[in-house]
């Protein structure tokens, strides 16, 4: 190998090393934020309905501050290299999606769409080739949401809230129906989607327990109507 060639390659390698280092710093930051939010939201399982809004409000500032991180990363990534580096932050991003979608569900009972999630996280359309919310990351966030809601269905009953499991059941079945429209390849997403069945089964059992004991009188109608 002549010296010029070695020089050329070394130059390229050095650039990469430096960039990776910088992105890593931002990801550490991102990670801290999502860890804080997950910690706070863990309390939903023991929070009575009326105290919930206050809890959700306490999470929101951290969620909003995620915009700083996404902007910082977008500024670092060179044009067209989104897919090259995204592995580095995708875990954090999926946690952030989960957080945003969980808050949205608890407030509105509805599903937070992809573009709304992007917006909440401050991801801008013109970053397209440097930082965007890929469908697969959004879907991972939703699966984490379903995992958490199956736990919430159980704990709501403990707290005496018999409506929540039924609402969750309807919501989760909708999401599951959505997923079953997709041709997922044999990857992590597929495996995690397959595992959703256990969450759904658990939620169904809670709804069963509640209906059997007629604890939520209107429930039977609701569930059937939701089909």
């Amino acid at each position: 190998m002549d010296a010029e060639n070695v020089e050329r390659i070394n130059q390229l390698l050095d650039q990469d090393v430096e960039l990776r280092e910088k992105i890593k710093d931002q990801v550490t930051e991102f990670d801290k934020k999502t860890r804080t939010m997950t910690g706070l939201l863990n309390r939903i399982h023991s929070t009575p309905p009326d105290a919930l809004p206050a809890l959700l409000d306490s999470v929101r500032p951290t969620l909003e501050s995620c915009r700083d991180v996404t902007a910082a990363i977008a500024a670092l990534v060179p044009p067209n290299q989104f897919w090259r580096w995204k592995e580095m932050w995708s875990n954090s991003l999926r946690s952030a999606v989960f957080t945003a979608a969980l808050i949205h569900y608890l407030q509105t009972g509805g599903l937070l769409g992809l573009s709304e999630t992007s917006e909440i996280l401050g991801i801008q359309a013109e970053w397209q080739d440097r930082f965007t919310l890929a469908i697969e990351d959004y879907l991972h966030g939703l699966i984490t949401l379903v995992n958490e809601l199956s736990r919430l269905a159980v704990n709501s009953v403990t707290l005496g809230n018999f409506e929540q499991p039924i609402k969750i059941s309807v919501f989760v079945k909708d999401i599951f129906a959505g997923f079953s429209m997709l041709n997922l390849k044999n990857d992590t997403l597929r495996r995690r989607y397959d595992s959703l069945k256990y969450d759904i089964k658990k939620i169904e059992e809670v709804v069963y327990d509640v209906s059997l004991r007629k604890l939520a009188p209107s429930s039977k109608v609701d569930v059937a109507g939701a089909v």
Binding site: M1, D2, E4, N5, V6, R8, I9, L12, L13, D16, V17, N80, Q81, F82, W83, R84, G110, L111, G113, L114, Q128, D129, R130, I135, L139, V170, F171, D174, I175, A177, G178, F179, M181, L182, N183, L184, K185, G225, A226
Partner: protein
């Protein structure tokens, strides 16, 4: 159907289209990569075949090198056409999305290309030369060449050179050739060593390179030992053997 479900269905329907498109593209690129791999392997086989087919009438080894390389170049052009098509699929930010699917074929291509280049020039092909070979008529790169693909492709070259050196020994001039290849591969090993901290895969391949190098060294050694014993110049040796075998 509830309106909320309706809403979800609409959202996921868009995802479905997008994911299907992505999966189809991925499949196409994997297929291309496999085709490129197969064609590249054929180029390598072809080079070995031309270089080792014992054509006693062709005394001039440079001539044979040139002929082999010319045939290789011809087939490499076909592969380059496939890369043009791959390039069209991976414009903009798509390249890095599918990089891992393109990579296996690309590395095999670099192996074939660098082998051809070695037969032509006796040198290691440079990064820019490889990138240049992946460029359309208007000078546009089909996609960026990664340092990893470049180095891993070259690393595989050493294995082919080992096969080439060992097979050559039974040919006119092959004994000299084994020595040349030996020095060349030894330098490759030294050159690659400094890049190993960057790529795990390269570390693994370095140990393959080491063992290829040892095999070439053993072959060169066997030649040197015999040449020292009989003290006959190598060109004459060839003649003696040919005479002995054909008599």
């Amino acid at each position: 159907m509830s309106s909320s479900r309706n809403n979800v269905v609409n959202v996921f329907d868009a995802f479905r289209i997008d994911l299907d498109e992505h999966n189809d593209r991925r499949e196409r690129l994997i297929k291309s990569s496999r085709d490129i791999t197969n064609l590249s392997k054929k180029v390598i086989f072809l080079l070995h075949r031309v270089m080792t087919t014992d054509d006693v009438s062709t005394a001039d080894k440079d001539d044979r090198n040139a002929r082999a390389a010319a045939q290789g170049r011809e087939k490499l052009k076909e592969i380059q056409k496939l890369f043009a098509a791959v390039g069209a699929e991976v414009q903009g930010d798509r390249f890095w999305r599918y990089q891992r699917n393109v990579s296996p074929g690309l590395q095999e291509y670099i192996e074939a290309l660098s082998f051809t280049h070695y037969l032509e020039t006796g040198k290691l092909i440079s990064y820019d030369e490889v990138q240049q070979s992946l460029t359309g008529e208007l000078g546009e790169s089909y996609f960026p060449l990664t340092t990893e693909d470049y180095l891993l492709g070259l690393s595989d070259l050493t294995g082919e050179l080992m096969r080439y050196a060992i097979s050559s020994i039974s040919q006119r001039g092959g004994r000299m050739k084994a020595n040349e290849v030996c020095t060349f591969v030894r330098n490759c090993k030294s050159d690659f060593e400094v890049f190993t901290p960057h790529f795990r895969e390269l570390r693994k391949k370095q140990s393959v390179t080491s063992s290829s190098l040892e095999k070439i060294e053993d072959a060169a050694y066997a030649i040197a030992v015999r040449a020292s014993e009989y003290d006959v110049p190598p060109e004459m040796l060839d003649d003696i053997i040919v005479r002995s075998v054909t008599s």
